[in-house]
């Protein structure tokens, strides 16, 4: 099999997933496993992190918030990314499943944002002596939160499903452009107190900033949060697909 036909095969089976029926079958099959992995990773990661790591020299036991804070922050950004990609697929290929996935990702992403904000605020009190500072990273998250609310509010405000899908997708795309802009604008505006990025996917561990005692459980709970996000996304999308089917059935009821 040549590379080209391999790629072709990949894409055709990828688009197959967008067929609602295949999606429902596939996701129904995988969901229990995903949930099981989530539970394992998350519980071991969090229990390891909370109970079997030493207190930090400077931060004391408050450092343990990191096991909730960092993964949820990452998933918050992930959710936004997913919305944009799902919307794009919808606008280009009219794939309902992808836009429903975008819709399902929004509340999950919003909750993650809220968790990141809340854990950050709780952490801020001992660390910086205040719950909130207008730091670029924090502020960006607040804006992200607003965007999630706006996106969901637009979904709710428009009655016609396909119309709502179209309009929210347009909003997501324009929002993405301005999100990048905001990110840079905010950096100009204030240098901030918040920690720089120390965990990067590319080089795994940056030993200078974070010791592996903390890092290994952190990595595990990050994987756990990722799986949790995925599981919630599947559940959400399945619910949306079912809601859609229900609407059709209801319309049939009314018409006959």
């Amino acid at each position: 099999m040549s590379i080209q036909s391999g790629i072709k095969y990949f894409w055709s089976s990828f688009w197959q997933l967008a067929n609602p029926k295949i999606f429902m079958g596939w996701s129904g099959l995988w969901l229990p496993w995903v949930i099981a992995c989530t539970v394992i990773c998350l519980s071991t990661g969090l229990i390891w992190g909370f109970f079997f790591t030493p207190d930090d020299v400077r931060q004391g036991s408050t450092v343990k918030i990191i096991y909730l804070h960092v993964p949820s922050a990452l998933m918050a950004i992930n959710g936004y990314f997913l919305i944009v990609v799902g919307s794009l697929f919808w606008l280009i290929r009219r794939q309902h499943v992808s836009v429903l996935a975008a819709k399902a990702a929004a509340p999950v992403g919003m909750t993650m944002t809220l968790i990141a904000l809340a854990t950050g605020a709780i952490w801020g009190q001992p660390m910086w002596g205040t719950y909130w500072v207008w730091d670029p990273r924090l502020t960006s998250f607040l804006i992200l939160f607003l965007f999630y609310i706006g996106y969901l509010a637009l979904w709710k405000a428009i009655e016609d499903e396909d119309k709502a899908a179209d309009l929210t997708s347009v909003l997501a795309l324009v929002g993405a452009v301005f999100a990048v802009l905001s990110r840079y604008a905010v950096l100009f505006w204030n240098q901030g107190l918040h920690q720089g990025t120390t965990v990067t996917i590319a080089d795994g561990v940056n030993q200078e900033n974070i010791s592996s005692v903390f890092f290994q459980p952190l990595l595990l709970s990050m994987v756990g949060f990722g799986l949790l996000f995925f599981a919630l996304l599947l559940v959400g999308t399945r619910t949306e697909v079912r809601a859609r089917r229900l609407k059709v059935l209801e319309a049939f009821e009314r018409a006959h």
Partner: protein
């Protein structure tokens, strides 16, 4: 009257508005201010209470022109005016619905947003109280203004213009109460003034508003 009130609340929820949105606008104003004024923490803490009051006022302002505007444009107001309901009652019902969907949620959320601006628990409580006592006036005055600008299309700005000067006393006493609390002074005086203004507004504005409605419909 209770019917009009109930219907207005339902309408505002149906149209994607409802309790949430006024709140969110309020949140947005609070978020925007640091961008405009710079992130200096102590500066923000100093102007925080006043800003929250200003935000509440603006959130209120934004939804005013629709209190009567929709009903006027689609002809419902004519029908209401020929119904057995007194126009004073219609005015009160609509003001109350507006307050329930904007003023009340804002007042309740203000302490939470106070955290963003470093207000302490005590000051937040006073802020909440002052908003609870003051926002009814904002809705009443706003609806009154809306009856005046009924016939004017795109009346939003004109309405703000008419209404803002009338908001000033409430704003002053509201901000004063919270400032006083922040400085540890007594704050009962301004709160009593706010309540008095609210009561006065309930007492006199219905008649003027009903008159304005009648004039605008004829």
């Amino acid at each position: 009257m209770i019917q009009v009130f109930r219907r207005d609340v339902v309408l505002s929820i149906r149209s994607g508005g409802g309790f949430g949105l006024a709140l969110i606008f309020f949140l947005i104003v609070v978020v925007l201010v640091p961008f405009a004024l710079g992130p200096d923490q102590s500066l923000l803490a100093k102007i925080g209470p006043g800003l929250l009051w200003l935000g509440a006022l603006l959130a209120c302002l934004l939804s005013l022109d629709r209190i009567f505007g929709m009903d006027y444009e689609d002809g419902t107001l004519d029908l209401l005016a020929t119904s057995p309901l007194p126009l004073e009652g219609v005015y009160l019902a609509k003001s109350a619905a507006h307050w329930l969907t904007t003023g009340l949620p804002i007042a309740l959320a203000a302490p939470v947003l106070g955290v963003l601006l470093n207000l302490n628990f005590y000051v937040s409580g006073v802020l909440c109280l002052s908003l609870l006592l003051g926002t009814p006036t904002l809705s009443l005055i706003g609806s009154f203004g809306a009856t005046l600008t009924l016939g004017v299309k795109r009346g939003g700005l004109l309405l703000s213009l008419l209404v803002l000067p009338l908001y000033i006393p409430t704003l002053i006493f509201g901000a004063l109460a919270v400032h006083a609390a922040a400085l540890g002074h007594t704050f009962e005086g301004p709160l009593i003034f706010i309540s008095a203004i609210s009561l006065g507004a309930i007492a006199i504005l219905p008649f003027f508003s009903a008159a304005a409605l009648r004039i605008n419909l004829s």
